[in-house]
């Protein structure tokens, strides 16, 4: 499959994520949109990794594991994202306990 398809898909996912973050007020949905953006990036990394592998094989370059770094990155990002999700959800739970809502527009007390 050409790389372009992956790129378009990733851009679409990322844009949906951005628009979601900007327009929604529910903290959980915003959180999901952030995850969506992260995974759009993951998708890009995997796609490019595959592309580089194919190019290296086609050109018969003497490289041990071509394109493996991208996939490594993806794993790292998934691990970090999992940790981040647990912290983020904990914050949202605490938020709900305090203000009985997960609407971010009630969060403007941070400025004081």
């Amino acid at each position: 499959m050409p790389i372009n398809y992956y790129l378009f898909l990733a851009i679409a996912l990322f844009s949906i994520g951005v628009v979601g973050v900007l327009t929604r007020r529910n903290a959980i949905i915003i959180f999901m949109c952030i995850e969506l953006m992260l995974n759009a990036v993951n998708l890009l990394l995997v796609a490019f990794s595959k592309m580089h592998y194919q190019q290296a094989v086609a050109a018969a370059l003497p490289i041990a594991n071509p394109g493996v770094e991208g996939q490594l990155f993806v794993f790292f990002i998934m691990v970090v994202a999992a940790a981040e999700v647990s912290v983020g959800l904990a914050i949202i739970v605490m938020l709900y306990r305090n203000i009985h809502s997960v609407d971010i527009n009630f969060l403007n007390r941070l400025k004081h």
């Binding site: 951005v18 973050v21 900007l22 007020r25 971010i104 527009n105 969060l107 403007n108 007390r109 941070l110 400025k111 004081h112």
Partner: protein, 633 residues
């Protein structure tokens, strides 16, 4: 011969030690300790100077370098002393007259509190130190240190009674006017260093002698350097147009006037020009400017002195006038005569000032001669010594003033007969105003209050002793410079100074010389007799016509007030009232206000709406990416 001047560094060091002890311990030391310490230090310096003098008489001279004062790439200025005939002569004058005045001061200043008594002597010792540094310095930079030091001490001592605002104003005036000259002096030193690469006298003068006229040191350079040095001298030595500080400097204690503003500091300019005689001999234009400035100063100050009533003011203007004579001599190329007159003038003018101090002391602080009169009976010693001082300054043979003034007049006659005529006229004025003061003060009937008459007393012996010694010097001081026409080979001063200053030779026949000498002396005697008959009996009538101009000092102070002080204060007022609040404050406050305004506007960005923040973040990232990919190449 270098080794023989081993102790020379002690000559300025001792007064410095005296200054430190008296200055730091002014609250601890008693008057007796302070006075003895300060006078003793100067006495030791005098004894060392005598020893140096005796060695110099045998032909010794040396440049002693102690350490590097300034050392940078391409320029080395050592802290060095140059000891030769000129220096040793000035050393004797400064420490000798200085010692007598210190002794006199211990009695004159006795009414001061312990602390201010010590402060006075500390300043006086610091002055002696600076003056010695000035004449001993082996290059223009060390000379400049002394030059500034004496200016500082002059300021401190004029403003000694600083609680009186008029006195502090006089001190400021002296300091500021000296600054004008000092700036020119400093520029001259820089010019010399740039051109010759050195500030040491020996190197500078040999450079100038070998290179003058060549592109290395052109005629223009010589004129500029010599003129700048001369402007420096006009400040320090009170010549036109910077002389007005000296009469005001009489605000200081009288012994200070005697030491600083008559005998030593004001002659620093003459010392400096005599020291630079190699340079000046190559600058005929500057010399003629010097002679005319000196002559104009001498005449102007003498006319002012004719109608002053403050005894110290008369002496101050007389000093300005005599300094003018010295500059006239320098301008005529008669460096030797100028130095000779510096010496005799130091004797008789210090004597006159100390005498006036004795009178003021007896009168309880009164300085107006119109309120004195008939003091001769009560103040016998003061009167006798003051009379000797007057005879000496008037130029009656065989007193010292006669020989030095005659040497000047003779050289001026050879140089320029027109100037000679004016100079003789000025000399007659000198005799007239001095005897006017003498007669009004000491003869006739007493015009002060009963209380003052009752208080009237001769000063204690501590004050009279310096008077008597100075009177002796005023009589005999001139005998070392007797011209060949009167006694062959008696001009020991000329022989002594011949390694440094060009000796005087003139094409005048002995008969002409004797005629000039005799006629001048005769005229002086006539003028003295005239003064006697004018002031013997009746009081002076109010001034009219030109005499009013004299009494008001030619309105020079008023003129300076109008053309310099007023515009300057008006400019400062303009700066203060307009530029300061509108321009400077506007600028400074404007910066603050614009920051505040921007901050107020930017505050609205921080809304607390997370959506807004995220939107801004996204917009910013889009902008950054846009810039990254499409604009930056």
């Amino acid at each position: 011969m270098q080794a023989s001047f081993k102790l020379a560094f002690l000559i300025p060091l001792l007064p410095l030690i005296g200054f430190l002890i008296n200055g730091l311990g002014r609250n601890l030391l008693s008057k007796r300790v302070t006075g003895v310490l300060a006078s003793g230090m100067v006495l030791f310096s005098f004894l060392l100077s005598l020893q140096v003098f005796s060695e110099v008489r045998e032909g010794a001279s040396a440049v002693i370098s102690y350490f590097d004062f300034i050392r940078i790439q391409g320029l080395q200025i050592p802290f060095s002393f140059q000891i030769d005939a000129l220096t040793s002569l000035f050393l004797l004058i400064i420490t000798g007259v200085g010692f007598l005045i210190h002794v006199y001061s211990t009695s004159y200043m006795h009414d001061e509190t312990d602390a201010s008594f010590a402060r006075y002597f500390a300043y006086l010792n610091l002055f002696v130190f600076s003056m010695l540094l000035l004449v001993m310095g082996g290059n223009y930079v060390i000379l400049f240190i002394g030059w500034e030091g004496v200016g500082l001490c002059s300021y401190l001592l004029i403003g000694f009674w600083f609680k009186n605002p008029a006195y502090t104003k006089a001190a400021n005036k002296a300091f500021i006017m000296n600054r004008i000259g000092d700036l020119a002096f400093l520029l001259a030193v820089f010019w010399i260093i740039i051109k010759t690469g050195s500030a040491n006298y020996g190197e500078v003068f040999s450079f100038i002698t070998t290179n003058h006229g060549t592109p290395k040191f052109t005629a223009t350079d010589i004129t500029i350097v010599s003129l700048l040095l001369f402007v420096g001298a006009t400040g320090k030595s009170a010549q036109l147009p910077l002389y007005t500080w000296l009469p005001d400097a009489m605000a200081g204690p009288t012994p200070v006037s005697a030491l600083i503003h008559a005998a030593t500091m004001v002659t620093a300019g003459i010392y400096m020009i005599a020291r630079s005689n190699v340079l000046y001999s190559l600058a005929p234009l500057t010399l003629s400017i010097i002679s005319w400035v000196g002559l104009a100063t001498a005449l102007l100050a003498a006319t002012i002195a004719l109608r002053q009533y403050d005894i110290k003011k008369v002496l101050a203007y007389s000093t300005v006038s005599q300094l003018g004579f010295m500059f006239l001599a320098l301008g005529s190329g008669a460096y030797l005569a100028a130095v000779f007159h510096v010496m005799t003038h130091a004797f008789f003018k210090a004597l006159l000032f100390l005498g006036s101090g004795s009178v003021i002391h007896a009168m309880g602080g009164e300085q107006d001669i119109r309120k004195m009169g008939g003091l001769a009976g009560k103040l016998k010693v003061t009167h006798a010594t003051f009379l000797i001082g007057c005879l000496a300054i008037a130029g009656i043979p065989p007193l010292s003033g006669f020989f030095s003034k005659d040497a000047i007049l003779l050289n001026v006659f050879v140089h320029n007969p027109v100037q000679y005529g004016i100079a003789v006229f000025t000399a007659l004025l000198t005799a007239f105003y001095m005897f006017r003061v003498l007669i009004i003060t000491f003869y006739g009937s007493f015009r002060g209050t009963k209380e003052q008459l009752h208080h009237l007393h001769e000063s204690p012996w501590v004050m009279l002793l310096p008077l008597v010694l100075l009177a002796f010097l005023s009589i005999a001081g001139g005998w070392i410079g007797i011209p060949a026409v009167l006694m062959e080979g008696a001009d020991s001063l000329g022989q002594f100074l011949s390694p440094i200053l060009p000796t005087l030779s003139h094409p005048i026949s002995h008969n002409t010389e004797l005629l000039l000498m005799g006629s001048t002396t005769l005229l002086v005697v006539v003028v003295i007799i005239a003064a006697w008959f004018i002031y013997r009996k009746k009081a002076e009538p109010p001034s009219t016509g030109i005499l009013r101009v004299f009494e008001n000092k030619w309105y020079v102070d008023e003129l300076y007030e109008v053309i310099i002080v007023k515009p300057l204060t008006r400019l400062s007022a303009f700066l203060r009232e307009w530029v300061e609040p509108r321009l400077i404050d506007g600028l400074v406050n404007g910066v603050g206000r614009s920051v505040q305004y921007t901050g107020r506007q930017l505050r609205f960005l921080q809304s607390g709406q997370i959506g807004n923040y995220v939107l801004l973040m996204v917009v910013a990232m889009v902008v950054i990416l846009f810039v990254q990919f499409f604009i930056r190449k």
